[in-house]
Amino acid sequence: MPIPGVARGGLRRTYDVVIVGGGIQGLALAYELSARGLRDICVLEAGYPGCGASGRNGELVRSAFSSVEWATFFDASLRRWRDLSVELGFNVLFTPAGYLVLASTQEELDRCRGFAARHRDLGLVTELLGDREVRELAPALNPELVAGGVYQPDGGFAHHDAAVWAYARAAARRGVEVHPFTRVTGIRTDGGRVLGVGTTRGEISTPVVVDAAGGHARDVAGMAGVPLPTTTHRLEAIVTESLAPFLRPALATLHLLGYCHQTTRGELVGGTEQNVMEPATSLNGSLRGLRDMAQKFVRLIPQLAGVRLLRHWAGIVDVTADLAPVLGPVPELEGFFLDCGWVYGFMGAPAAGSLLAEAIDSGNVPELIAPFSIERLRAGDYIRESSLVVTLGDA
């Protein structure tokens, strides 16, 4: 029992829903399905819950994106984050310390002005800040990199492990079985329908399978004969020693392609991306990635030059061409649902779980997640989001 709430008993032979992947996506979905009254839900996790990208991400939360699709979906998630600790009965340490999308050039500030206008239209609460206001908000930033930015006062960050544990416990209380160290080996289908899954602990019959396998989502979809147009990439992050408070808001920098925040324990946690994000499945950090992060964070926050790095790690994500998730049913395979393609999956999990649960339960895909269908990828009808701080080399 690696965390509270996981199943102690064996696998049953039959479930109503089987979710492949015990990260925050799979666990949030299981919780939301059980909250809608569904029973006999099983989450299969190859390792311990949260061992993949759910425990390796930058744990930031915002809805201040540029596109209608991203901003409205993630705003639904942000609203859920505010009350998540109370709802789940476990402190996920959501800290609405604010979220700054930093502009370092006039061109980036112009883009931020466009984002802020979009946010106004959509009813999101954000502010366009000038250079002086940003320097007041985050005095530790190198003034040479401060032209202004978009600030979302109720964005922030949460604790990624606590959020995984909270969802697992809440789901378990409603009867969901979370089985750790149980790997899916195959998905049985017949006549365009899902019939069951094979696992390292035996066969299961089920009419509904959800692929929430994070960095392994394409492999799992392949087991069902569904080609997923994704590529697997490694993202790297670092954490420093604990410091006295020096940075209040969470931060994304358009100029350096990086993101960071100071945790409630005082550490700086963050990651950067390089212009070429090469396909990779290794969980080993790279010296190139480490140097990129060190150089960018020291440039962004000069006082970090004298601060010690404690850990450097990596996680893998299986991403789409537009870096947006894939959510919803697969038209040609009844009973097979996708909850994958995530890069911003930690912040998106509360809304994704709730809305995908509605899609599975009601058969109708809610408007907020309809744009994230697999059909958009097949048609090449990509979502255009321009406030991301991750990038594919050719995007």
Partner: protein
């Protein structure tokens, strides 16, 4: 009575009682105990305490200590100033001490 107050992880002040509590709550895997107690997450990254932590887990769970794998050790082996990794001079180095061409 004070036995439970023995500090196993000197970086994060994790005691035997903390490990016992984590295991009794259900965090009984070295990787999740790391995340729940912050053992292995301080400046020494577990180098000073991993045997003691794994023994405490084993004592509470009944597992064979040799069957428990310590959490994956992440680089760097020792804490390193970001300024050194960035290629510039360390903040506390005397002027001219650095030899890097990148900054």
């Amino acid at each position: 009575m004070l036995a439970g107050k023995v500090i196993l992880c000197l970086c994060q002040d994790v005691t035997i009682d903390d490990i016992d509590r984590a295991v009794s709550l259900g965090y009984d895997h070295p990787e999740t105990i790391k995340r729940f107690t912050a053992a292995f997450m301080g400046p020494c990254q577990g180098k000073a305490c991993h045997d003691a932590i794994l023994e405490a887990i084993a004592a509470r769970t009944g597992a064979d200590p040799s069957s428990l794998r310590r959490p994956t050790a992440r680089p760097p082996a020792l804490p390193v100033r970001l300024g050194i990794l960035a290629g510039g001079e360390p903040a506390d180095a005397p002027p001219g001490a650095g030899a890097s061409a990148e900054g």
